[in-house]
């Protein structure tokens, strides 16, 4: 019996490598501009958000960047201005829509004259996907003797051959967009190019009668790499086989000072979507 106790102790020690929230002083690093904005083939207006990094321990929201001049250019000479709708949030004109086959570049001039541009982002066609399906988690989780009824989503995607495709799924559950890190779902056709392939998302669980909307977006390779590193930094950083800390470089550069790092990403994507209600027969 003693032996069993010892073993359990050991298991506990190993199974729960401990995590304790702590307070440490973190110095202020360089303040960096953060750009977030996406152009799609769906009706606008589109949003470009400008903010500034603040101290890691700061509980206040990130400072917004006001009075900037924000515009997006396409590769055929079109220029679309964005207007500051609320502090740090700039909106395009509602009658402009992104178009498949175009590339878009954002151009930002801050009130101090600093010019920041993105790399050109292609708005690629998005492959279709079959109707969504759901599967019940098996074996089911049991909490306090009650069997939990949980479901996860999947679909079959028709990947076009001989072209590299990069995808993102955005999921809305009962009209609430899912915004945590586990809900950022990205994948590529690297191993499935040209095939109708099945995708399942077992990490997001839903309940009976949930209404789920999935938006499938065609993102660029660079945007895919950006999200890939973003997810790694947000989830595995610091763990023993986790990713090493690194500057998360997006596609924005300061033309005034190329050595200055601008964070965030300006992207473009086409969207298809589908809706499903989880209503199993039994």
């Amino acid at each position: 019996m003693l032996r069993l106790t010892i073993i359990s102790l050991f298991l506990l020690a190993l199974a729960s490598s401990c995590e304790d929230p702590i307070e440490i002083d973190i110095p202020d690093g360089p303040e960096r501009l953060v750009v977030e904005g996406w152009i799609t083939d769906q009706p606008g207006p589109y949003e470009i958000k400008l903010s500034i990094t603040n101290n890691f321990n700061d509980t206040a929201p990130n400072p917004k960047v006001l009075n900037a001049s924000v515009s997006v250019m396409d590769n055929r000479g079109g220029v679309f201005d964005f207007a500051e709708q609320s502090p740090g949030i700039y909106l395009s004109s509602p009658d402009w829509e992104g178009e498949i086959g175009f590339t878009y570049t954002s151009m930002i001039i801050l009130s101090d004259g600093t010019q920041v541009v993105s790399s050109p982002e292609p708005l690629n066609i998005v492959p279709e996907f079959d109707s969504l399906f759901y599967k019940e988690v098996f074996p089911p989780t049991i909490i306090d003797g009650i069997i939990q009824e949980e479901f996860f989503l999947g679909s079959t995607i028709q990947d076009p051959p001989n072209v590299d495709n990069f995808y993102r799924w955005r999921i809305t559950q009962n009209a609430n967009p899912l915004i945590d890190i586990e809900s950022i779902i990205i994948f590529s056709d690297r191993f499935v190019d040209g095939n109708d392939f099945q995708l399942e998302v077992p990490q997001l669980l839903f309940g009976r009668l949930d209404t789920i909307v999935v938006q499938q977006e065609s993102i660029s390779e660079r945007a895919f790499d950006y999200y890939d590193l973003l997810i790694a930094q947000a989830t595995t950083l610091g763990q023993s086989s986790g990713t090493a800390p690194a500057i998360l470089r997006g596609n924005m550069t300061s033309q005034s000072n190329p050595e200055e790092i601008v964070l965030g990403y300006f992207g473009a994507a086409a969207i298809v979507s589908d809706t499903i209600i989880i209503a199993p027969d039994n």
Binding site: R32, L199, D225, L248, R249, G264
Partner: protein, 872 residues
Amino acid sequence: MVFLVPPIIARSFVVLFTILSFGATALLAQKTTFPLDFREYSVAQLITELESQGYSFSYANDFLDKDRILSVTKDDIAYLIELICGDKLDYQLMGREILLFKAVKKKYTISGFIRDRSDGEALLGTTIRVLGSTEGIAANDYGYYALSLLPGQYHLAVEYVGYEPLLLDVDLKQDVQLELKLVPARLKLDEVVVTSFESDHEITGIRTSVNKIDMQLAGDIPYLLGEVDIYQSALLLPGIRNIGEDASGLNVRGGAVDENLILIDEATIYSSNHFYGLISVFNPDAIKGVTFFKGDVPSTYGGRVSSAIHVRQKEGNDQEMRLSGGLGLVSGRLMLEGPLKKDESSFLISARTSFFDYVSAISGLDDSRTNFQDYNAKINWRPNEKNHFYLSSYIGNDNNNDGLLIDRQWGNRTVTGRWNHIFSNRLFSNFTLSYSDYKYEVSNPEESGQFIGSSNVRNYSSKADFTWFISPRSTLEFGSGAILHRLNPGDRLPLNDDGFNNPVSIDSEHGLEPYVYANFQQNIGERWVMYYGLRYSSFYNFGPEDVYTYLPNQPMERGNITDTTSFSNGELIKDFQNLEPRVSINYNFGTGNTIKASYNRANQYIHLISNTITPSPTDIWKLSDTHIDPSFSDQYTLGYYKLIPELNLDFFAEAYFKSTDNIIEYKEGADLVLNETIETEVIQGNARAYGLELYLRKKVGRFRGWLSYTLSKSERQINAVDVTEQINNGDYFPSDFDRTHDFSLSGIYSINDRWTISSNFVYATGRPITFPEGKYVYDNIVLPSFNERNQFRLTDYHRLDISARLEGKKIRSNGKPKKKIDYWTFSIYNLYGRRNAYSYLFRQEEGSDQAEVVRYSILGTFIPSVTYNFRF
């Protein structure tokens, strides 16, 4: 090699003069006597007397002692000339002319193997001293010795740590083959746990920065989970670190994990940890000992820039059949060894397996499964004293299942065949063929994502090593070999053909690494010992392979590829040629004081590329090629060594400086899995490390222990053409394994015949980490904004472990000694349960839009364990 010539000439002269002297004696025998008074003469007087008889003498004045008094009792001419010559001169007679010259006497050689008497294990590096002189020699790395001396009577002392010294009286009249057998020291109290350098270093000189761990003796200190482990003992020595409690591999003197050459019976081990880094792959039962070369690496070893770690498996008991084993909380061990034919052939077979899985399955705590196994086997055959054959193998396996579907397996496999042949009693040879394979496999049967992925690294190695025991004052080791590398960076195949998944396969890489080396040890006078080593290594990267050409002076990125060159099977792509000098000088002041200086150059043609903080089993090995240059290091060491025999203490202080060029660093955000253009994900730079190591040890007595302290710095520099690829603006920054202060104290106290208690205390500066110097929000996710790498540190690390060992009763109730030996070990790791930080997590607080800092500890509590060991 100039230094070779004199001994060869000297030897030929011996032969020549011996023949001539015999001729002269035969001639003289016919000569008659002549009138001479039987009285005392001086040498000068006798020569004058003989010259008056018609003989003439030629000699150099400086070596003839003319005033020496001789007492003449016979008038035979041969007798008279020999009288003049005495011990120191020889002569040659031509007609009536006599040539006197310094005597060169033939030496005879005592040679053979040195073994443990109880089980026949060869004892490597055993010293043989000629008592009453400064002469002596050490057995080579295969336990063979050869000591050449003038004819005469000698008292020899044969000494090996942990064994009773063997005293021998030898009357040397001819070459002798003598197998020496040492008896393990009976008293446990005399044992030594970790040997840092041989006490007989006056004879053989000290190789700087060498640490040996003898498995027979390493079991006394506390271990995590009671698993005796060479890596855990190594971490208590100066200059050897790891990143954290579950980090794989070792960092030797500020070097990266892949910069250590790790050998088991001369075959390469690519991944030396089980269980996420907690336990090394070396099963203590099957291992004879380990040698760590931290700085002054003999030219025998090469191919890595930091260190050489050579693990030798036991040969198997050639006297009697033995079954031994043990049971701990993590693993069970069983080993069978014994003679196939007594004194001629023996075998060893050993297995270790974790059974952690069964425990967790019963407890139901966790669905994930983790287990490992090690198998060691060895056979040797000695048909005669001149030929020994060995065949050994190691197979390791790790398995991990995440509790859902993904199953991962990895491990090393090695096979080594060796033939030791004695060409002449002073020329020993060792021929080795070895094969080594490290494989990683992952399978995911999940319907939509099903695949099987694999990668492996292999090498085929052949080599010939020679030891020539020229004289007790000089030994030459030389040899050559070649390693064929074959790397398969990755395949990803569908498990079954459902039409979803396409097979992906990355080109394999091929390289040939031939080398020659020589290492000459020379004692000069009574105080100096010199080592002159030289290694010439080459590397040939050859096809089949497609090699990309990138835009010159631009970052190596896929977008900058301008051309692809296809190389056919066996076609040379790129070659490298390098000379590696390795020199060291010892000066012995007498009274146990020695200083030593050494210089060491090494090259490395195979690199581990990892984008995680500690290496993981999935990491990619990469050969040097068109885009990746070999790394090379220069290390300078200065050491002082002191023996205080009255207190049974020894001490050393060593300072080192090491610079390494062309180290490999992953680019920020590198993607390494199944990447065809891996060169685009890495960048080369420089590293430097320097430090001071202090070590004090008490070897024998009721209380034993050692204290080790290291003050050091380890830095890297990545200075790229493109600003975005630079790290910290191209300045030097602390490496992940930089530790300013590192202190450890281990003590062992034997209470009585049955109880031994021990303790370790460790204190070290926290490792460097990167703090986010800001935060921001993107896509509703709070993200850290990093700036410069490794500018901050974790809190200091400290820990106390204790253990107690209880020996089973050695005497039966009827008074007879038991054949079975057994003991229990009880230990507590991290006694005061300190939550040492492994790292800090900088993340978004769950369910909030705020950021939080979390201390992440791996073994943040005290961990008790109990282990039972036995031997029949």
